[in-house]
């Protein structure tokens, strides 16, 4: 996988194999703006429609995809050096993986990590309380500071722990890999 270039035809096959081996249903890598987000979301919905029964199950999975995608476009700190983010949906048997990766400022890592750890330590009732508190607070502060509402919502729809990792990319930036799991009910 090293030294990949787009003018190298082998890259096409390697990417294809990697995606197949990792059971990727959809992957989008690039700059995310409102229009691309909507296109990716529409594609994600078509795929989930095929793989999940209509109703609560599909709605939960789709909701996770919406929040995950919108987290990327709202919260990533894109700049000329790191313009791209990635969104992936994968499937292994009954488990769906809805993942995102984007660059954020290193200064934000600690608070984001704390937020996710706090969410992961709560049960359903705890998440409900946190959601109620966060939505009240979000009305007091101005835009963009969503107080983690999206992450809380993902955790509630998923019912599983949220996985994440921060990889430093230079002294000021880190790559935030995030994954929510959704288990298709029997």
């Amino acid at each position: 996988m090293s030294n990949m270039k787009f003018n190298n035809l082998k890259t096409i096959y390697e990417l294809h194999k990697t995606m197949e081996e990792n059971q990727v249903i959809i992957a989008y890598e690039g700059e995310f703006d409102i229009n691309t987000t909507q296109s990716v979301l529409s594609l994600a919905e078509k795929n989930l429609d095929q793989k999940l029964e209509k109703g609560q199950t599909k709605r939960r999975a789709f909701n996770i995809a919406v929040e995950c995608l919108q987290n990327i476009s709202t919260h990533s700190d894109r700049n000329d050096e790191f313009p791209n983010s990635i969104f992936i949906i994968g499937q292994e048997g009954n488990e769906f993986y809805i993942s995102s990766g984007n660059t954020i400022k290193s200064s934000k890592v600690e608070s984001l990590q704390k937020k996710i750890d706090q969410i992961n330590n709560l049960d359903n009732e705890g998440l409900k309380q946190l959601h109620m508190q966060a939505i009240k607070e979000s009305l007091k502060v101005e835009e963009s500071s969503n107080a983690g509402l999206g992450l809380i919502s993902i955790a509630r729809k998923s019912g599983q722990k949220l996985d994440y990792e921060f990889i430093p990319v230079d002294s000021n930036n880190a790559f935030f890999s995030f994954q929510a799991t959704f288990v298709k009910p029997e």
Partner: protein
């Protein structure tokens, strides 16, 4: 005052706001990232409506999906009615959609106006 009618899109609901019968209806899905652009004219309509509201106001929320950005707007929007009389929020959900029902109960807990729950097809 003018009736407001918006058609549904992939990520915004159909909206009908009718001051003559005091009915506000939201149907479909609300997933916009930029909620301000979509909801600003609606919030403005509501503020004008509340200066001389109908004797009764029914707010029908028939949403299948909404994102967290929308939940902030909904809370803000419904809160505008908290000092009005004879306002009911009709919260619709698919029969098996316990998440949507729970969302309604959470809004009810946050806003001090009566909610009625209904199932939809």
């Amino acid at each position: 005052m003018e009736k407001m009618k918006l058609n549904a899109t992939f990520e915004t609901p159909a909206v009908t706001l009718d001051s003559n019968i005091g009915k506000l209806e939201f149907t479909g899905r609300s997933l916009p990232e930029d909620t301000a652009t979509f909801y600003r004219p609606i919030l403005k309509w509501i503020e004008t409506y509340l200066e001389a509201p109908n004797i009764i106001t029914n707010i029908d929320i028939k949403l299948e999906y909404f994102n967290t950005a929308t939940s902030k707007v909904l809370l803000n929007m419904l809160s505008k009615f908290k000092d009005s009389n004879n306002v009911t929020v009709h919260w619709f959900h698919h029969e098996e959609d316990e998440d949507m029902l729970e969302s309604g109960k959470e809004f009810e807990e946050l806003i001090n106006i009566p909610f009625a729950y209904h199932t939809m097809e």
